[in-house]
């Protein structure tokens, strides 16, 4: 254990977890492209819808996996994130922007920021904290919608599992 590194942080849940560690770098996500050509609108709308579908699928899968190991409340969080990802108002605002030649990834980030801004300004502390949830969901979709491979860890669910899993 020559390379043993000790990290200190805030516990997100009780217990001991063993698994791969991922570094999460929050901050403003920069879209790969700002604009798209006029003749690409339909293709980009499809790219956005595919991205939503994939993200919803992955989040639901993670929720299912967590539920199977008895982490009911964590599963609920991922389900709520999946619900945000497929939010019809979120989608229609993004689609409207893409119609106006904004790239889907730029549109997703902007609409996510709009909602995050509304939540962050709310008095209710719990709701204010939802701003990060929206940003997280938006960045998941954005990184899938820009045509590159998703850079986010596929196995982040593993790191969330508690003992006995």
């Amino acid at each position: 254990m020559a390379d043993c590194v000790k990290l200190y942080g805030v516990a997100a849940s009780e217990g001991i977890a063993v698994g791969p560690v991922f570094v999460h770098l929050p901050g403003k996500l920069k879209p790969e492209r700002e604009n798209i050509p006029k003749d690409a609108v339909e293709e980009e709308q499809r790219r956005f819808r595919d991205a939503v579908e994939t993200v919803v699928e992955k989040l639901s899968e993670t929720a299912e996996e967590l539920r199977e190991v008895g982490s009911e409340s964590e599963a609920g969080i991922f389900e709520a994130h999946a619900e945000m990802a497929e939010d019809p108002e979120f989608s229609s605002e993004v689609e409207e922007r893409v119609r106006n030649l904004e790239s889907p990834e730029a549109a997703v980030i902007s609409v996510g920021e709009e909602f995050a801004g509304i939540f962050a300004a709310m008095e209710d502390e719990y709701l204010a904290a939802r701003a990060d949830d929206v940003r997280d969901v938006a960045s998941r979709i954005a990184s899938r919608a820009d045509g590159r491979q998703d850079g986010r860890p596929r196995s982040s669910g593993e790191a969330l599992r508690g003992p006995g899993s």
Partner: protein, 86 residues
Amino acid sequence: MVEREAVVVPEAGLHARPAARFVKEAKGYTSQIVVIKGGREANAKSSLRLMTLGAKHGDRVMIRAEGEDEGAAVDALVALLSQEEE
């Protein structure tokens, strides 16, 4: 059009997880459904919009539906808001 008032019973209010449950139920109906609080309207099928209402435990909200299954939709959603989260 059918509308009815409901008091938000879940301790957490109409927030992330309760909102997700509420939206799931609402999506089961074809009617247009809105939740109204303090003069502001939110699409009942959008968890993000619902959360922006900031409806807390004990708040009164109005549920309004319009469409083929409006009566059943309002019944189910009022019932959902009127029970504690499992």
